[in-house]
Symmetry: C2
Subunit: 219 residues, 2 copies
């Protein structure tokens, strides 16, 4: 396993700590759409993404979702080990958006390391600060940007992530990403279509005017 | 100065670290309405509230505000030292809501301590996790609770904090707390008044039906 490549604090660990980490961490393949972590029900452990894509989201009582952030190659998921931090009182669900290769460090192993080692604790701090910043960005979007800007930004981002102008997605899925409802998204997508920004067909949204969408995000 | 009473990691510091902390931290009195920390312009340091009340909020480009959390006696403010964490990319403003007594630990002193000491780094982790949870709660409110619930919850909370049923506040101030506009808040308060939940007069909102307001929050 190549765990050392993903951990910036590796060189600051003792030989004993390195072998505890290596011996207890597990490489695993996760199939697309698998729920890896489900709020406080699981204490999965720290997840390192070797390849693939994970999505972290929260869910309302009525079942509406909003995407908090995505994790790509080399990213590390802290909230799958949130039981490690007493002060975390929210529940995040994590799913694989594509087939993914991950390494899982068991919670107990990581917690012990963090207690012993200031570099590990400080790395964890930066990791949390970085997710916190993602969530603050999202909150500002939700609070202060109108849905047309958020939808345009989302389509452009998806197009970049998937490396295609034709997104295979449903209006329901988009609504779940943006914390909106299917009806509202369908209405806005139809408006975009009427402005020749996208073309809609069954199960796909095709971006037809990238700079037009960028203008909506910007203005 | 009584700094040791506020720092759970005090007993785990060396004698040298203790004296660096004591010698470099400053007690300060902050007058009501003073801006203590203004986003990335300042790197004020860690603020410990000995008594009083601080408010942390973010501001939109158009000048709208939303309260992220409040800090009371013995609370510690991490984001006034956010320059310490490279991964923080959002800007928080902190003001004193009442005359307050605080202790300020300079950023450089705290950063050095955190680098050396796992207990300090782990305490910082829990502190951030706790603020993160506040913000996630707020985000769920904003996303999924309607404004009537949020306004009722806010009035009840204020009433408890101020220990009175008669709140001296403007509709503008309430709007700033909730990330809304004055017009929207005025409309909702008038609706509450028509339901005999509150009584409005110039510069005050009086809560007249506490259990009615609680019912709105709950249902």
């Amino acid at each position: 396993m190549d765990i050392q490549n993903y951990l910036p604090f590796w060189d600051k660990l003792s030989t004993g700590q390195k072998s505890v980490l290596t011996e207890n961490s597990n490489a695993r393949k996760i199939a697309k759409d698998t729920v890896i972590h489900n709020g406080n029900l699981d204490c999965t452990g720290l997840i390192i993404v070797r390849s693939g894509r994970l999505r972290a989201f929260i869910t309302s009582e009525e079942g509406r979702e909003i995407t908090l952030y995505r994790l790509f190659d080399s990213d590390m998921c802290l909230f799958s080990a949130s039981c490690m931090l007493h002060s975390i009182s929210f529940e995040v669900t994590i799913t694989a958006e594509t087939d993914s290769d991950v390494i899982i460090i068991p919670t107990e192993v990581y917690r012990k390391l963090m207690e012993e080692s200031a570099p590990v604790a400080n790395f964890t701090n930066e990791l949390m600060a970085s997710r916190f910043s993602d969530v603050m960005w999202l909150m500002e979007q939700v609070m202060w940007k109108s849905l047309d800007k958020r939808l345009a930004a989302f389509l452009l981002e998806e197009s970049e992530v998937e490396d295609t102008h034709t997104l295979k997605t449903t209006h329901e899925t988009i609504a779940n990403h943006l914390g909106s409802s299917r009806e509202v998204i369908t209405r806005m997508l139809r408006y975009f279509q009427s402005e020749c920004l996208v073309k809609l067909s069954r199960g796909t949204v095709t971006l037809t005017d990238i700079s037009g969408l960028q203008r909506i995000v910007r203005d």
